[in-house]
Amino acid sequence: MSPSITTSSEANGNVSSATARAAASAAATAGAAGPQPVTMAKALNTAMVHAMQSDKSVLVFGEDVGKLGGVFRITDGLMATFGEQRCFDTPLAESGIVGMAVGMAINGMRPVVEMQFDAFAYPAFEQIVSHVAKMHNRTKGKVKLPMVIRVPYAGGIGGVEHHCDSSESYYAHTAGLKVYTPATAADAYRMLREAIDSDDPVMFMEPKKLYWSKDLVDLERLREDYEAKADRGTSMEGRAAVARSGTDATLIAYGPSVPAALAAAAAAAEEGRSLEVVDIRTIVPFDDETVAASVRKTGRAVVIAEAHGFASVSSEIVARVQERCFHYLAAPIRRVTGFDVPYPAPKLEHYYLPGVDRILDAVDDLQWED
């Protein structure tokens, strides 16, 4: 990864969430043109609008995505704008949705399908693992599946059971799938545009608790940059972002855990400790370079994820960092993850989710004295 990517570039939307949110509230009061406070939901919706305008083969379908606009309103207005042929409701069957999307992708379309909730995507698992992931390989690259499976995932919204699973590890473990997960509105826009344009199938994991968080974004400017390929070579695929620079330790996070990592870094700064925050952005392909560069610089790392820690993306990250940075490490790498229990009901989720205190405790444990 080139240094120009790691330094925040407002044009590419790589501003840290904390900075963006402060600016967003300022812009809202000033009512200025250009960058506006934009929710991740709006950024995702706009990305689909722009993709559908640019390419007639882009179709959006799933459960309740039509008139209702999706249970999270991410597809709001698409049916009205593009008609029932390009955005439509399907029968209530996830395997059917993904399997039909495979056929459409075989026959020249770019389907973008919505799984209503993380845990409701499991009926589609066979299609995803046996066909979506393998079609390109088993046809020697003759058949490409340019399709996106959008999955609202993870917890923190007070959802009842089966509505808050962190299912990213299942997909990341499957060879042949790309797995994206944005943490800011600007990244959400750009990453969804890239996912839709990708010739490989992408599991697009949307942290549902960030749907309503706002960043300061100029969506039209993002569109111009993306479509003019003005930023050619700066694809976000396989490129982590340094969301906050620091020198003493690296917090590695993705999707729903990025705001917690940033909050922990802000709190640590008040205590005189400088923490760097790396936002992974695309779990597959993984940006070893940026992560390793950061850990070599700081010598300490904590990996943060909402998902269960056992046999997970967070365990993979620890293994990769250890393999690449062993001689630079001043302390064993720590993890702050969800406990190895089924995602808890809202009354207990507060105890489960990695929060600022638990992250700071892990940082404190990183052998700061020789």
């Binding site: 399907t90 059917g96 399997g99 495979v102 390989n137 058949v143 990708s198």
Partner: protein
């Protein structure tokens, strides 16, 4: 309760029935079409005819029209002579391929072969009923159908020789890769048909599965999606009586598998799966109806898997020889030969020409599968994504280095021993 043609399928976006129509049931587009076309009720269109359609009996005699199982709205004209002769030639080739492949498995030239012996009529009719530009989505037991669509025989057997890819280009032949996970490919067929329909193309898609597969969830989802979106898909079920060892009675207690169609609002039909004449008649009409916009159809063919599930299976553990003998008498080849000869369409010269063609395909298989194709270990990484990720490049380099060191080691050992 009455069925009214006032309401059409959701795809046509008609208003919901008002309170004054509350007694009416919703009439899907396919049924409305049938009511208009055949003047029969929607139920009579969607339910299969009372008897399976059979045109040529097991002794090779053309049955009288009144005994073919047809009914108003379920009528099937006799296919043309040219089509019948083409079908017979393909039957002979298909049987020869099944025999040849079973031999190649015994010789260790193929890893596995799920033979369609006894089901060749279904294989041939499935391929011949489609026009150029139509798609087929086969299972692992449908290699003969795949070949009959024009795929090179050796390429069609690539999976069974244990190679890592599907062999042929699905886009070139409009034939999906032979699918092992049951009924998952039916949804791909639905998607291909849906995409074509959205572009205004008149593509028909034939989706194949077996009797056991109808228990799978994707069977249900595919039929329902095809019906709701009113898509030109023919679901062709080869009911060969067994799912490995489990007989149909343990899969379903429906009156027939074709009866499942009515539950989705589509038409179903049963046909003698060892009578290629009836199969062609039924499938040709299904393709025509689908292409004209009548929506999806379900065709169940009654046939029999004469061999074990694969060479790894032992059919004597779960079925009697007497049952197999019953089906030997119903062989699809011999009855077609008798029928065509009786009509003066096939003589010894014609038979010899077809046998020669079949033998050349068998030779092609023996030569092709007998050849040791060199493998490239780097193919492991080449096609996982449209371009390899940094991680895959790293792993590819690791393997290349390992192989280079092995080769160097072998070379120095050879040198030392000289």
């Amino acid at each position: 309760m009455t069925i009214s043609a006032d309401h059409t399928a959701p795809g046509t976006a008609q208003a919901q029935p008002g309170p004054e129509q509350a007694e009416d049931i919703y009439l899907p587009g396919a049924a409305a079409e049938a009511v208009r076309k055949f003047g029969i009720t929607a139920e009579d269109y969607m339910l299969p005819a009372r008897h399976q359609i059979q045109m040529v009996d097991q002794d090779g005699n053309l049955k009288h029209h009144s005994e073919q199982g047809t009914e108003p709205g379920h009528e099937y004209p006799l296919p043309g002579d040219h089509e019948l002769l083409t079908a017979y030639a393909q039957l002979v080739i298909g049987r020869r391929v099944n025999d040849q492949n079973s031999a190649l498995v015994r010789q260790g030239r193929m890893a596995v072969y799920p033979s369609s012996q006894g089901q060749e009529a279904c294989q041939v009719a499935a391929a011949l009923c489609l026009a150029e530009g139509d798609w087929m989505f086969p299972t692992y037991r449908d290699a003969v159908a795949v070949m009959a669509r024009g795929v090179d025989p050796v390429q069609a057997m690539t999976i069974f020789r244990g190679d890592w890819h599907g062999g042929y280009d699905p886009l070139e032949h409009k034939v999906g890769i032979q699918c092992t996970p049951l009924t998952t490919q039916l949804l791909h067929a639905v998607g291909v048909a849906h995409a074509a329909k959205l572009r205004g193309e008149d593509t028909v898609v034939l989706a194949m599965c077996g009797d056991g597969a109808t228990s799978e969830g994707d069977f249900h989802e595919a039929l329902n999606f095809a019906a709701v979106f009113h898509l030109p898909v023919i679901f062709f079920v080869q009911n060969n009586q067994y799912a490995i060892s489990v007989p149909l009675a343990h899969q379903s207690v429906a009156p027939s598998l074709a009866h499942k169609a009515v539950g989705y609002g589509m038409a179903g039909e049963r046909v003698d799966g060892n009578d290629v004449v009836a199969l062609l008649a039924v499938l040709d009409r299904a393709v025509k109806l689908a292409r004209e916009g009548s929506g999806p159809l379900l065709v169940e063919a009654h046939t029999y898997r004469m061999q074990a599930h694969t060479n790894a299976d032992d059919a004597t553990r779960y079925r009697q020889d007497s049952e197999v003998a019953l089906w030997t008498a119903r062989d699809p080849l011999s009855r077609m030969r008798t029928y065509l000869a009786g009509r003066g369409l096939l003589d010894d010269d014609g038979e010899a020409r077809i046998a020669e063609k079949a033998e050349s395909v068998a030779t092609q298989l023996r030569n092709g599968l007998g050849e040791d194709v060199p493998v490239d270990p780097q193919d492991l990484f080449r096609y996982v994504f449209s371009s390899p990720t940094p991680q895959l490049k790293e792993q590819a380099a690791l393997l290349a280095d390992e192989l280079a060191r092995d080769a160097a080691g072998a070379a120095s050992t050879a040198e030392a021993s000289e």
